[in-house]
């Protein structure tokens, strides 16, 4: 079931939570809505679900599920599955009764027989690997288990659209990782259309077919994770998707100067701010004729496949972060307090005035 939003806007009192938004989600897609808190991502999800109404303005917005106009359809009739951040399980019902709820409230005509309900609930519980806990109450389950029950409950009514509001937000890192992989697997297997909200860029990039990046009630960019990371449309997207180092200074005659640091760069004269990712910083013991960016190591932390190094210098307003491979780390014999030279491998600039389409990237 595809989802199409036309001109959807939302005000809460005088504050505009969503500027008019258009969005197409294809059938079978898994889409992440990514943004900081207050970006309007949850509001957008709740409008798709029908838990919130879009503004009724002169040109009212429209929500289509496939060909069906659901703009004025009540949430209970939209045939969606909604998974809440804090699970919202019915505490007085057993796991089994929670999952069966959506089936047992169907009108008598459409309700399956009790045997069929039982079979379906157990199939779902098997799928979420909780069949042995069917008789437990929610309070007796861990957070991860509760979220799996909540997912099974949403899937029981065989929704065409599954909506998840920060589904893993309340869980610890390890469980979150596991559930993510498991959700992706489930999505591929059952092939429904899913939209989930997250503020965690790693989660959005790992899980989604496409990511919708939002800020201040606007859609900043819609792209595949790969495209998004490689070619961010503006500074917000670039900064939100990962750690960023800033290099700010004056360019004259092809040399950017900043305190005692300088660097040859092919840019017109004027004030410049260049952005680069931690992995785009190379560290050496000696400066080159092209670049002289002296830095001091203030912290070292090995994280997984690489080593994160924090760098400070007089000419830097904020410390830099560089990631180094373990072999390089050993080769350079890095230690805290060591003085080195940084070399940008690759950088971007987003002129501040017009944030759109003026992105430039260079390989240094």
């Amino acid at each position: 079931m595809s989802i199409r939003l036309n001109n959807i806007a939302k005000h809460f009192g005088n504050t505009q939570a969503l500027e008019p938004i258009n969005l197409d989600i294809h059938e079978g897609e898994l889409v992440g809505l990514l943004g900081p808190s207050g970006s309007g991502k949850t509001t957008l999800l709740r409008i798709i679900a029908g838990l919130e109404n879009a503004d009724r303005t002169a040109q009212p917005g429209q929500i289509l599920f496939g060909d069906r106009d659901v703009t004025n359809v009540h949430v209970r009739d939209r045939r969606i599955g909604f998974v809440f951040q804090h699970y919202a399980l019915f505490r007085h019902m057993s796991v089994y009764d929670n999952v069966a709820f959506g089936l047992t409230v169907l009108s008598r005509k459409r309700r399956p027989s009790s045997g069929e309900i039982r079979a379906r609930v157990f199939r779902l519980l098997e799928m979420v690997k909780l069949e042995h806990l069917a008789d437990r109450y929610p309070a007796q389950l861990s957070g991860g288990q509760q979220q799996r029950v909540s997912l099974a409950r949403a899937l029981a009514v065989e929704p065409e659209v599954l909506l998840l509001d920060e589904p893993f937000g309340a869980l610890d890192a390890k469980v979150r990782q596991e559930l993510r992989r498991w959700l992706r697997h489930l999505h591929d297997e059952l092939n429904f259309t899913s939209v989930f909200v997250t503020h965690d860029q790693e989660e959005a990039l790992e899980l989604s077919d496409r990511v919708v990046v939002m800020s201040n009630g606007r859609i900043e960019q819609i792209d595949t994770p790969d495209e998004l990371y490689r070619t961010p449309k503006n500074r917000f997207v670039f900064e939100f998707l990962g750690d960023v180092n800033h290099l700010e200074g004056k360019v004259s005659n092809g040399v950017l100067t900043c305190g005692d640091a300088y660097w040859h760069v092919d840019l017109p004269d004027g004030h410049e701010e260049l952005l680069l990712r931690p992995h785009e910083v190379r560290l050496t013991e000696q400066p080159t004729s092209e670049s002289h960016l002296p830095v001091t190591i203030t912290a070292i932390s090995p994280v997984g496949a690489e080593v994160r190094v924090e760098l400070e210098a007089d000419w830097l307003a904020q410390p830099w972060l560089a990631t180094v491979r373990h072999t390089d780390f050993e080769h350079l014999a890095l230690r805290r307090g060591q003085r080195l030279f940084a070399h940008p491998r690759h950088w971007r600039r987003f002129p501040k005035v017009t944030e759109k389409t003026t992105e430039q990237t260079r390989v240094a």
């Binding site: 838990l51 909604f82 804090h86 019915f90 007085h92 709820f101 409230v105 309070a139 409950r153 029981a156």
Partner: protein, 284 residues
């Protein structure tokens, strides 16, 4: 006291005042709450078992049990519905006068029972504002068991409202939304999701209202009419026996009332504990 001191557990060990607060509490509870009850048993000991049963099963006394229990049950039932409605309206909706309505809920607790008694009696007597309206229609409230139930309902309505209100407030919006997203209509969602959630509080509140009604005296005697076998409540029976200096008779009936109310109080506590355990964890 040194033995008491060893009972104190880890995190609170550093705080002072255990001996003093324990001393005051135990002394007070013993002297004020428990010691007087021994007086009742002392009086009862002067009765033989046969005498005791003769008193508590006498026709007029049994009739008073019936009146009291019947009226209290009706009052509790009415309050369960009315109290639920009030709690719901106060928690879920915004409307002008809401704060006043909320404050008004505590009136029956704050108003002395005798004041409530004479006011209700005056209002619902044939010459009163309500009685004048109702009696021509054939509803006699004052001096009937309906009046007794009315007075009981008046004095005990806050029990239901104030017990249900906080539980309803704690119910997150997400639970409503989950029920609706699963296709439940308002009626079904209320019956299957919201009602079970507030059920323990509703039963507790109704139970407390019932216990209170069983023992209520001041609010009832003015409107009851106090006709033997018809509109005489048990608390009044005790009072009447006392006026006749029949201490043994009063004690026997009082022991029944005391036993029933303490048993109900205990039952409510245990019942509530069972639900709390299920909703907030623990095995089984």
């Amino acid at each position: 006291m040194s033995q008491l001191a060893t009972w104190r557990t880890g995190s609170t060990r550093v705080l002072p005042g255990f001996g003093l607060s324990m001393g005051i509490s135990v002394l007070f509870i013993s002297l004020v709450l428990l010691l007087p009850i021994t007086g009742l048993f002392g009086q009862l000991a002067e009765l033989s078992l046969a005498e005791y049963f003769a008193i508590i099963t006498e026709g007029r006394v049994v009739a008073s049990y019936m009146v009291t229990i019947g009226a209290a049950a009706v009052a509790a039932l009415v309050n369960a519905i009315f109290g639920l409605l009030l709690a719901w309206v106060l928690v879920r909706y915004e409307f002008p006068g809401k704060r006043l309505l909320d404050a008004l809920m505590d009136l029956p607790f704050a108003l002395p029972t005798a004041v409530a008694g004479i006011t209700l009696a005056t209002l619902y007597a044939g010459s009163g504002w309500m009685g004048g309206l109702l009696e021509p229609l054939g509803f006699q409230v004052a001096y009937t068991w309906v009046g007794i139930a009315l007075a009981m309902a008046f004095t005990s309505i806050p029990f239901v409202v104030r017990t249900v209100q906080p539980v309803l407030e704690d119910l997150p919006a997400e639970v409503d939304e989950a029920a609706m997203s699963l296709g439940a209509t308002d009626g079904v969602a209320f019956r299957r999701v919201i009602l079970p959630h507030i059920w323990p509080a509703l039963v507790t509140g109704t139970g407390l209202a019932f216990v209170r009604s069983l023992g209520e005296f001041g609010a009832i005697i003015f409107i009851a009419g106090n006709m033997p076998y018809e509109t005489e409540i048990t608390a009044l029976m005790i009072f009447v026996k006392l006026q006749e200096y029949d201490y043994a008779g009063a004690s026997a009936i009082a022991s029944v009332v005391l036993f029933v109310s303490l048993a109900l109080l205990l039952a409510i506590n245990i019942w509530q504990g069972r639900f709390v355990r299920r909703l907030h964890g623990g095995k089984g």
